[in-house]
């Protein structure tokens, strides 16, 4: 399996949400993320959602084995990850601080 090809074409989206179908945690994560983006007035940010049930190879490509997971790419291409259903609002807000300028 060639992992490079399976990566989305650049530019890399600033935010990626890894979910597994409509599992309760995934549903909560979606809801919590969009709530936070609203609150932080980051309406222009559209997270890219990856459903690992449909694209299981993406788990390996992004090394995301715990779900849900929110992946953030900064201007230099560095990635950081926040696991969980994003129910800890403070941590989520911290994670979303200083998102790079929209490139998507």
């Amino acid at each position: 399996m060639n992992e490079e090809i399976s990566r989305p074409e650049s530019p890399v989206p600033r935010l990626m949400l890894f979910v597994t179908g409509d599992a309760p945690r995934s549903v909560r994560a979606r809801k919590n993320l969009s709530g936070a983006l609203d609150k932080l007035e980051l309406d222009e940010v559209t997270p890219m959602e990856i459903d690992l049930l449909d694209q299981p190879e993406q788990t390996v490509a992004y090394s995301v084995f715990a779900t849900p997971a929110l992946l953030r790419t900064d201007a230099l291409g560095e990635m950081s990850v926040l696991y969980g259903d994003l129910s800890d609002e403070d941590k989520l807000h911290d994670f979303l601080q200083n998102l790079p300028e929209a490139s998507d």
Binding site: M1, F18, T20, A23, R25, R28, A29, N32, L52, L53, P56, E57, T59, V60, S63, V64, F65, A66, T67, P68, A69, L70, M79, S80, V81, L82, Y83, G84, D85, L86, S87, D88, K91, L92, F95
Partner: protein, 564 residues
């Protein structure tokens, strides 16, 4: 995919000792938890199972939560199956390490992991799934119950997809399962526990089947080694199934007098213990035994923890035990080992390998008590028992020596224990007397043989090894010069007694002669006395007649005739 739904089907791991412990392998389509401390061998176990499977045409997935794929490959490469594994396309390593700065916000699950396994598994046929270091994932769960749920989820997924999974996790130094593994051991059907403890600065590893639901298995800790071959667990020999038939044949010890004492020699396939203090000629006796075998055209394997081959062979030649020729003919093999260089389990494994390779008729381990230096006395005892059983099972006659010493309790206890296993027990000793040290030999026990209970003197000379009858002296036995001295003392005493008797006889005869002379003398005196009496009587008569004549002269003429 399953054959008969609920039935337990075992899948061999390819690790012989483990398959033997688990009576056939690990449960197919289920999760086996492998828990152990750091460096107990969890990762190697997983890799080796994959390597064995792949060598047999199988496949596998290795999911690492701890080490990078390169580290895993390097790890595998240090074993002799590593290269084949690293070159194989039938397995895949998944780097599942969490980013160092990963944060959590709320609850998370392992569906991503399951999706990854599923994705990988679909490209292999019937793969083993190894998840290494699952503690790294679970410890991020704030809630213990959630961690347990996730393991259950994994196990159910295994059942659903018929994956056979090894799940490894670390436990603390004191073997206490960390919080996130609590409960998991209870939930999974099979648990393997790996331990590593340090004794005298050496790492001793053990493996135990902690539980195996629905299957019999061997209980208790088994020593485990990690060698070039990977994990090795010395096979436990089932004594009830030992195939060697009872043999009536006896084999000679190389010392005819000793064979006589043993009622003809040692039973083939039995075991002999020779114990004694240093310098009592244990090795010499053992070498004599081995040489006798080689002379019978049999093979003898001599494992020495004391000596090197060259001086050993040279020294024995001085007492007419010639091994070099048998070494050249490959009838005699000598292996010098150092007891303290490795743990007992490794000694056992390597000695068993030597036995398998050489297939000897005679096995000598000299001294077996040295094994106590490679571990605890209990481990040494178990090790000796295993070796002797292994030899017996193969019909090999074994002779082990054991050093006895008042100062060394460990070795002493080994001797005590081996003496209960061995069929024949010969004790060698010294007798100190008159500034002289003499070797003695006595047979303490010999199962199934009438044997002499007498102590003998063991003599080593240019002519070889021999036994000499001891000299009984009251309740003591005499040996060496004392024996000879005592011998000549007795002779002198006897001579002196004879002389005395002769003297006494002579004296009596002399006295008889004397008495006889006296009797003669007295007889002669008596005769003289008698004669004197008669002379006096005649004189007296004559005197009386003359008086009468003078008084009666008238009667003189008439009586002339009477006066003659």
């Amino acid at each position: 995919m399953k054959n008969k739904g609920w039935q337990l089907v075992k899948r061999p791991t390819g690790i012989a000792g483990l398959d033997e412990m688990t009576h056939g392998g690990l449960p197919r389509g289920q999760t086996t938890l492998v828990v152990g401390e750091m460096s107990a061998g969890k990762t190697v176990l997983g890799l080796q199972v994959l390597a064995s499977a792949i060598a047999e045409g199988g496949s596998g997935i290795f999911i690492s939560f701890e080490e990078s794929p390169d580290q895993i490959r390097r790890n595998a490469d240090s074993f002799d199956w590593g290269q084949a594994l690293n070159e194989s396309k039938d397995w895949s390593i998944v780097d599942a390490r969490m980013p160092l700065d990963a944060e959590h916000s709320g609850d998370f699950g392992i569906e991503g992991l399951l999706a990854a396994i599923q994705s990988k598994a679909s490209s292999f046929r019937d793969p083993w799934v190894v998840i290494d270091g699952v503690d790294q994932l679970l410890q991020r769960q704030s809630d213990r119950i959630r961690a347990i749920d996730q393991i259950r989820q994994l196990n159910e997924c295994c059942e659903r997809h018929d994956w056979t999974m090894l799940l490894s996790g670390k436990v603390g130094i004191d073997r206490v399962a960390p919080k996130f593994l609590e409960g998991i051991e209870f939930m999974l059907p099979t648990v393997l526990n790996l331990y590593a403890t340090t004794i005298d600065g050496r790492l001793h590893r053990y493996i135990r089947v902690g539980k195996y639901r629905g299957s019999s298995h061997r209980e208790g800790d088994m020593p485990m080694l990690i060698t070039d071959k990977g994990i090795q667990i010395p096979a436990e020999i089932d004594t009830s199934s030992t195939s060697s038939g009872i043999v009536d044949e006896r084999v000679g010890t190389g010392i005819p007098r000793l064979d006589e004492l043993l009622d003809g020699g040692i039973y083939r396939g039995s075991s002999v213990l020779i114990s004694g203090r240093p310098g009592t000629a244990k090795s010499t006796l053992a070498a004599s035994f081995a040489e006798a075998a080689a002379k019978r055209d049999e093979r003898a394997l001599y494992i020495s923890f004391d000596e090197l081959q060259a001086p050993f062979v040279r020294n024995l030649a001085s007492i007419d035990i010639h091994l070099q020729q048998h070494i050249d003919d490959d009838k005699f093999r000598f292996y010098a080992r150092t007891s303290s260089t490795c743990v007992i389990a490794r000694h056992l494994l390597e000695i068993e390998a030597l036995i398998d390779e050489f297939e000897p008729h005679i096995l000598v381990i000299d001294p077996v008590s040295a094994l106590a230096k490679a571990g605890s006395p209990e481990a040494a005892r178990n090790g000796v028992e295993q070796l002797l059983t292994y030899a017996r099972m193969k019909g090999i006659t074994s002779l082990v020596t054991s050093l006895t010493s008042d100062d060394d309790i460990e070795q002493e206890s080994t001797t005590g224990m081996v003496s209960t296993i061995a069929d024949t027990w010969i004790v060698l000793g010294y007798h100190m007397r008159g500034g002289e040290r003499n070797r003695s030999l006595s047979i303490v026990k010999s199962r199934g043989s009438g044997h002499s209970n007498q102590q003998r003197e063991l003599l080593l000379s240019d002519d070889g090894v021999n036994l000499e009858d001891i000299y009984e002296f009251g309740s003591d036995v005499l040996m060496g010069t004392a024996r000879e001295q005592k011998d000549s003392e007795e002779r002198r005493e006897k001579a002196r007694e004879e002389l005395e008797r002769a003297e006494r006889r002579h004296e009596l005869e002399r006295r008889i002669d004397e008495a006889r002379n006296q009797a003669e003398r007295l007889s002669r005196e008596l005769e003289l006395e008698d004669r004197l009496v008669r002379v006096l009587e005649e004189e007296s008569n004559r005197h009386a007649r003359s008086i009468r004549r003078r008084r009666q002269p008238e009667a003189r003429g008439e009586k002339t005739g009477d006066d003659k």
